[in-house]
């Protein structure tokens, strides 16, 4: 009934075109993401998964082909603030309190002080950081900083959340907890998520669909539906179907690495 959240067709991305340093980052990418999906992009280092994420977010332009977000050009979607972005590093502004960091996007958008603060508080409740409003970023652990970054990305209720290895710098325990948390947020908000990772268990646990990418030039080597039931819990990680899916992804990755 609605337009696809993301529609990528025939996209190539070449860096340094016409120079000896030319890099063919992506070739012939076609991908459609429906609203409400939780998509993981997985592949070996340098396969262009972060590049693909940046194309969706209009932080880079495709060399050929087109990227549409919510039926609009990616550029328009960016100006309309259709997506929130979370990076591997939390990239909090170290001179702002937690609350002020979460308010930042709303401040840029010109939202009034009262509403800004109310929205930020609401989001901090959602990521379970209600008691840390006045803390400064350096006073938080890595996992908590990343939760602030997620809250910040959600304050303006984007329909799309772009996450670039958001838990890559966290320890295993924190990482698993954050995966569960981001799924919880996803189910509460109905946001479409595009999630870059290089961890097979992570991709399988969080996603409704895994996009397996080949090494440079990055191509889509396989799409794997992950039909594990929701809500996914600690038990999911011990489910045989979870292991079967991981094997499937692993084999798809092995297939591309050979080429």
């Amino acid at each position: 009934m609605s337009k696809p959240a993301v529609a990528i067709s025939a996209v190539d991305k070449v860096f340094n075109e016409g120079s000896p340093d030319r890099v063919d980052a992506l070739r012939g990418i076609d991908l459609t993401i429906e609203p409400g999906e939780f998509i993981s992009l997985i592949g070996p280092s340098g396969c262009g998964k972060s590049t693909l994420l940046r194309l969706i977010g209009d932080l880079l332009d495709p060399s050929t082909g087109s990227v549409a977000v919510n039926g609009k050009e990616a550029h328009q979607a960016r100006l309309d603030r259709d997506y929130g972005m979370v990076f591997q590093a939390a990239t909090l502004l170290e001179w702002r309190s937690v609350l002020k960091n979460v308010e930042l996007p709303l401040e840029v958008m010109g939202v009034g002080k009262g509403e800004r603060e109310a929205r930020a508080r609401e989001m901090l409740d959602l990521v379970q950081l209600s008691d840390f409003h006045e803390h400064m970023p350096w006073q938080l652990s890595g996992g908590m900083q990343q939760r602030v970054a997620i809250a910040r990305a959600l304050t303006f209720e984007p329909s799309l959340l772009l996450m670039d290895e958001p838990f890559g710098a966290l320890d295993e325990m924190t990482r698993e907890r954050m995966q569960a948390e981001v799924l919880d947020i996803w189910s509460k908000t109905g946001t479409t998520v595009v999630f870059v990772t290089h961890s097979i268990p992570e991709a399988v646990f969080v996603s409704t669909r895994v996009v397996v990418m080949s090494p440079r030039p990055g191509r889509i080597a396989g799409l794997i539906d992950v039909d594990l039931p929701h809500p996914r819990t600690v038990d999911t990680r011990e489910d045989n179907r979870y292991y079967d899916k991981m094997t499937e992804v692993r084999e798809a990755l092995r297939g591309v690495e050979g080429t």
Binding site: M85, M109, Q128, L140, S187, P231
Partner: protein, 288 residues
């Protein structure tokens, strides 16, 4: 906490933040900690003066080579009104030049953030001039503005302070984390918003390290440029005249005043730094 039926099991968030450092902690050992920290410096200061005094007496060093600390102290007390007012006269030149130089430098740095062509055109020269001994211009400035005019001294100070401040601020405005810029772009932020929300606060640590260098430089520049001639109320003139008359205890008293003013200036800037950016790593590790 909230486990919605449609969600996943999210129950434990047991991560503790690193304990916030409290600046006003008054534990019983507070005084002991302070004493322990500053005692070595105080001991070395007193010990050094004692050695100096002893050496002059034992080796019978002539007063025109090195006066005794006690002699300097006595002279300092006698000459106190003179040296302090001379010191303040010179300090005003240093402060004035510091302000003029800093304001101009920051304005120009902001322009480079807006027009990169300004930066590309100016930075090589700024770095080159910063590496030249600007104090050598002092006689020329004296000639331009008049030997006794404080403006001549201020302009030397301003030039000396200008370059480190400008170079550092440009660095601070430019050396912003790439993902922070991507983040701001993703919000559709304007260049002006990027400047005010990110680049300017990012430049504060750079700016304050330049200011701190600038405090010392400005006092040095003011005094040294007075050595090339200046008002009779100035500290540099006082020092050179007393030295010419072999009144070395007087000269040393004036040097003490110069260093006290220099240190005070530095401390004031360091305090402002703390107030402006308590979040910065260099500050928060000082508080224990």
């Amino acid at each position: 906490m909230s486990n919605s039926a449609g969600g996943v099991d999210v129950t434990t968030f047991g991560e503790d933040p690193r304990p916030p450092t409290s600046k006003t902690q008054t534990t019983p050992g507070w005084l002991a900690i302070r004493v322990r920290r500053y005692l070595p410096a105080v001991a070395i200061f007193i010990g050094g003066l004692a050695m100096w005094e002893t050496a002059v007496r034992v080796f019978n060093i002539q007063g025109f080579l090195l006066p005794k600390p006690t002699e300097i102290a006595t002279t300092f007390v006698d000459e106190f009104p003179t040296v302090v007012s001379a010191g303040w006269f010179t300090m005003k030149e240093a402060l004035g030049g510091f302000l003029i130089g800093s304001v101009l430098a920051m304005s120009l740095a902001l322009l480079t953030a807006r027009w990169t062509i300004v930066r590309d055109g100016l930075m090589p020269f700024a770095i080159a001039i910063n590496a030249t001994p600007i104090i050598a211009l002092a006689p020329i400035m004296n000639n331009w503005f008049g030997v006794t005019s404080p403006l001549a001294k201020m302009s030397i100070v301003a030039v000396i302070v200008f370059f480190p401040v400008m170079i550092n601020m440009v660095r601070g405005l430019t050396e912003v984390d790439e993902s922070t810029i991507e983040l701001m772009r993703s919000y559709g932020a304007t260049p002006l918003q990027l400047l005010t929300r990110v680049r300017v606060p990012n430049s504060f640590p750079f700016l304050f390290s330049a200011f701190k260098v600038g405090t010392t430089l400005s006092v040095i520049a003011a005094i040294v440029s007075e050595y090339f001639g200046g008002s009779r109320e100035a500290l540099g003139i006082y020092i050179s005249q007393q030295a010419a008359l072999f009144h070395f205890a007087e000269a040393w008293s004036a040097i003490v005043v110069a260093s006290v003013f220099g240190i005070l200036f530095y401390l004031v800037v360091a305090l402002v730094e703390r107030a402006v950016m308590p979040w910065h790593a260099s500050i928060r590790t000082i508080t224990d």
